[in-house]
Symmetry: C2
Subunit: 243 residues, 2 copies
């Protein structure tokens, strides 16, 4: 029953009603506990034989560096997320992952995944669902950078984080604790730090959302959703679908 408390279990339960055997298999994936300091690089782009991790506490981010030194942040990771699942399936990691806060995670190796899938095919479907959801989030980040104005993309991004955190019990309609800096936001949203600052001030002055002292407060959740044209459909998290 303890496993029902793990953020990954809680997240997968939004998709599939997990059986006792599924939960046991999932528990075995949580064997190798690790702690990392803020700033620790868990996975380095180009690295072979990388491990994957299941994040249980803290925040991390995945990114790619460009030859000219530019950085594109692909996504932020919160409890319940896989870190570097692609890296254990691929020959070499195609992106880097770094801890933003101190984190608690469990290390997962490629054979663990194969064993888990052989034991629990429904769990395999749930992991594919979680990977698909990660992809849907990256797709929205592409739409953010490609098609949304600076304010729309900031609003969309903060609402997305809030919805993802709510699924694992770390946020609600009032807001969430957020360790990100303006540099993180800038490199995720394709804006400069100065621009991020201006956009956040504008959203605050409009009475929509306030990001200050490590906390995001949704001052007017419904109006913010309208500004961002935010629809949670792509997060697919409204209660177990597969029973």
């Amino acid at each position: 029953m303890l496993m029902l408390q793990s953020p990954l279990t809680r997240k997968l339960a939004a998709y599939v009603a997990l059986s006792g055997a599924d939960l046991e298999t999932l528990a075995r994936l949580h064997r190798r506990r690790r702690s990392f300091q803020s700033g620790h690089e868990l996975i380095h782009e180009g690295q072979g034989r990388a491990s994957a991790f299941i994040l249980s506490e803290g925040w991390a981010y995945s990114y790619k560096l460009l030859p000219d030194g530019g950085r594109q942040i692909v996504d932020f990771h919160i409890p319940g997320d896989f870190l570097g699942l692609r890296s254990i399936l691929f020959r070499t990691a195609d992106h880097s992952i770094e801890a933003i806060t101190r984190i608690e995670a469990t290390e997962v190796l490629a054979p663990d995944i194969l064993d888990a899938f052989a034991e629990a095919p429904r769990l395999a479907t749930a992991v594919l669902w979680a990977a698909s959801r990660d992809e849907a989030v990256v797709v929205e980040h592409l739409v953010n950078v490609g098609r949304r104005s600076a304010e729309e993309r900031m609003a969309h991004f903060l609402l997305e984080l809030g919805a993802r955190l709510a699924l694992v019990g770390a946020g609600d309609r009032t807001g969430f604790d957020c360790p990100l800096t303006q540099y993180h936001l800038a490199d995720a949203l394709g804006l400069s730090a100065v621009h991020v600052n201006r956009v956040l001030r504008h959203l605050r002055e409009e009475g929509l959302v306030t990001f200050r002292n490590g906390r995001v407060d949704f001052d007017d959740f419904d109006r913010l959703k309208k500004v961002a044209a935010f629809d949670t459909g792509y997060l697919d998290q409204d209660g177990p679908l597969l029973r």
Copy 2:
């Protein structure tokens, strides 16, 4: 043995050495053959109970429409690709998919995936690998739009298509047949059609690549790779990894 010829089988074989049982399971996924005309919408954003498809011939593309009528093309799909795998796992489709050419595909329903995973866990891992590769491609499109110049992103995009087509036997270092229009390129790369035209002319005049009459010719493959800083690592397609 016929299944060895299917583009999906060929693609998955880049990751996993498929057993006879895996191949039989894969063959059963290819039961419901469908043909669609160019322009047919296979999946519509927001649609419930969508089917997924395995593309065996022709090209399609996935996209999202914005409230203001803007379109962000997320990816183009070629033989061997899943279309809308997320749509059968999710309650509602989070994106739309349309045929660019006449296509041949097989329809896959959610229970087919569950059954296939229960029968062949290695195949489950291979499908997760293919989904991860799709995600890695979307990540590169995010880097394209977020961090690369118009010429770098065009060069990167054409090299990526070439590498993906080569994996299923439809392209090589000299180039590939390409049914895309400048409007497709514009909406994928976050450029205007006029800008696409200018960038393509510049790349052609530089002796790097020529896109004309439905054909992309790599005039100087190695120099083009340098311009794009293109590294195929994220496509993870250099021979079976898992034996």
